[in-house]
């Protein structure tokens, strides 16, 4: 009996079990309900904008209320003038953009919420207890007495949670993208970048959550420890770009070295956001983070390396979790 097919089969069983667990915890239905709710809101979306005209540089930044952009007004460009409603008229906004721009702006906000900070943190919060519950001695001993290798049980559970989040991210993007397309006639495929961004972002931080779960077997430590870790990584990412991009004077060489080392060693949530918004060509719709722009301008932003080193961190921390799990006495 070859051990690789056993491991693959184990991973498959663990993925199935994770989906079953999510169904019973009602989490699956809560997430599906949120997707349905947002899809219905998007289905009831209408955008009415003034006729086609040349884009004015002052009107393509973040949402601008009427009268707040004197330059545009001075040059005879309507700052607002369009109207967007979502949820079948429940919420109405004034939009200063063309129809496609207004929809793009809305999609950026939606994708930003889903795939960036809020989406990742919410997914970490909701799924944080899966592994610690699974790893409780009373629950796992019989499973560990099966011929399946311990690493395949842990990796199977980890992949199960990541696939669970992938499924929901895909359903959310598919639902809202289709609804927006049907209601406005605008089908912007770059919106789909939200799925890989969320999944990669989530998988990186969930690896850390898995490590905490194995180490402490505590849901509270796994959930809040991971959230705290995310804040730390974001802070390190921001501090690095602030230091490099804006060339802050008076930083000690040792501090500079530590920030540089910390930046490359840890996951980079801020860079991930930057990569996502670049992929969505968002710079003409949303004001970028000043520090990130400064690093880009200096030619010191390496998106591929940023993603790669973040993934290396995830693989490393997951490897430590597996090692710890393998040698743990139950």
């Amino acid at each position: 009996m070859n051990s690789l097919p056993i491991a693959i089969r184990t991973v498959r069983w663990m993925v199935r079990d994770t989906f079953r667990q999510s169904l019973s915890s009602k989490l699956f239905w809560v997430m599906l309900g949120m997707t349905a709710f947002c899809t219905i809101f998007c289905l009831g979306m209408t955008v009415e904008t003034p006729g086609e005209r040349e884009r004015h540089p002052a009107e393509i930044r973040d949402y601008t209320r009427p009268g707040l952009d004197p330059k545009a007004v001075e040059e005879g460009i309507p700052v607002a003038g369009g109207r967007m409603s979502i949820g079948f008229g429940l919420f109405v906004f004034e939009v200063p953009k063309f129809k496609a721009d207004a929809v793009k702006f809305f999609q950026l906000r939606l994708a930003g919420i889903l795939a960036d900070t809020a989406g990742v943190l919410m997914a970490l919060l909701w799924t944080g207890a899966f592994l610690p519950t699974f790893l409780e001695p009373q629950a796992v001993t019989v499973l560990l007495a099966k011929p399946a290798a311990r690493w395949s049980l842990l990796i199977g559970k980890y992949l199960g949670v990541v696939l669970f989040v992938t499924l929901h991210a895909t359903l959310f993007v598919a639902g809202t993208w289709t609804a927006i397309g049907i209601s406005t006639g605008i089908w912007d495929a770059t919106y789909w970048y939200a799925v890989p961004l969320l999944v990669i972002n989530f998988a990186i931080f969930y690896a850390f959550s898995a490590f905490l779960a194995v180490w402490t077997r505590s849901a509270i430590v796994a959930v809040f420890g991971t959230l705290l870790f995310w804040v730390m990584c974001w802070g390190m990412n921001f501090a690095h770009h602030h230091m490099v991009g804006l060339q802050v004077p008076g930083i000690a060489q040792s501090s500079s070295f530590l920030i540089e080392a910390g930046y490359w060693a840890l996951p980079k949530p801020l860079d991930m956001s930057g990569i996502f918004f670049d992929a969505m060509q968002a710079s003409t719709h949303i004001d970028p983070i000043q520090e990130l722009e400064a690093v880009k301008e200096k030619g010191k932003f390496y998106p591929e390396m940023s993603v790669l080193t973040s993934l290396v961190f995830a693989a490393g921390i997951l490897g430590i979790a597996v090692y710890e799990f393998r040698k743990t006495d139950y």
Binding site: T10, R16, R20, S24, L143, P147
Partner: protein, 253 residues
């Protein structure tokens, strides 16, 4: 294969303190024991004697501090042998979101059984343990006795050569105990090995061919049941009489 399991000078000390730097808690102190293949072998001892640790070592749930262990003729590192072992734990928390049938299918799958053969096996076992009419019901609704029956069914899902029962009658009602005894006798008749871990003397006395007595991490007696009973006063004296001096010798109340 003459032995289902062999322990040679096995020591297990659980680490304590920060990063395991403490003195540690000794659980087994140089255990040497051979569990013969075929028949029912009892492992008897008071609470905290090290019985469960010995079982955990045999199942690779923890690693020995020193000494060697072989399982079904292979070293512990060969996890494939676990596919030929069934394990029923006294107080296991099964996933409450699964139904009885789903649980057996899941555990059978992890034991390496093929999905196509699992369905029939699951039905047979649920009928055997008296849970056929509750097959689709979530475990969350089961009583402790029903969970124990299900635990027995999952231990039998891979048709094991060695069945390990760790305090199996805890929580079982009278009918459940009778069912368990019946299954153990059937396995014995089929030349399978059963390791029965218990601190209930009549249970061991009734079912086991041979036994080991573990006290404070050491084996104080190992041999046939009949010999141990023979060391006690003849005609109707119970096993407790024979064991009492052994326990007292080790200073266990």
């Amino acid at each position: 294969m003459t032995h289902a399991a062999v322990f040679d000078q096995v020591v297990k000390t659980y680490p304590t303190g920060l990063l395991g730097m403490g003195a540690g808690v000794p659980a087994l102190r140089g255990v040497t024991l051979s569990i013969p293949a075929g028949g029912v072998f009892g492992l008897l001892g008071p609470n905290r004697a090290g019985k469960t640790t010995l079982v955990k070592l045999l199942l690779s749930l923890c690693a020995p501090t020193s000494g060697t262990i072989s399982r079904l003729g292979a070293p512990l590192s060969d996890r494939r042998t676990l596919g030929r072992i069934g394990y029923m734990h006294e107080n296991h928390a099964f996933p409450r979101y699964l139904s009885a049938a789903e649980l057996l299918t899941f555990y059978g799958g992890l034991s390496g059984l093929r999905t196509d053969s699992l369905s029939t096996k699951v039905d047979q076992l649920l009928t055997r343990v008296g849970l056929a009419d509750r097959r689709s019901e979530p475990i969350a609704r089961f009583s402790k006795g029903m969970v124990q029956r299900l635990g027995l069914a999952q231990a039998l899902i891979n048709d094991p050569e060695l069945l390990i029962l760790d305090e199996p009658t805890e929580g079982l009602d009278l009918a459940g105990r009778q069912l368990l005894r019946q299954i153990v006798r059937e396995l014995k008749a089929a030349k399978k090995t059963v390791l029965l871990v218990s601190h209930v003397l009549p249970e061991v006395e009734e079912l086991c061919d041979s036994l080991a007595v573990l006290v404070a991490g050491k084996i104080v007696y190992t041999g046939p049941m009949a010999t141990l009973i023979g060391t006690a006063e003849p005609s109707g004296k119970r096993l407790e009489v024979a064991l009492k001096p052994l326990y007292e010798k080790e200073g266990v109340a």
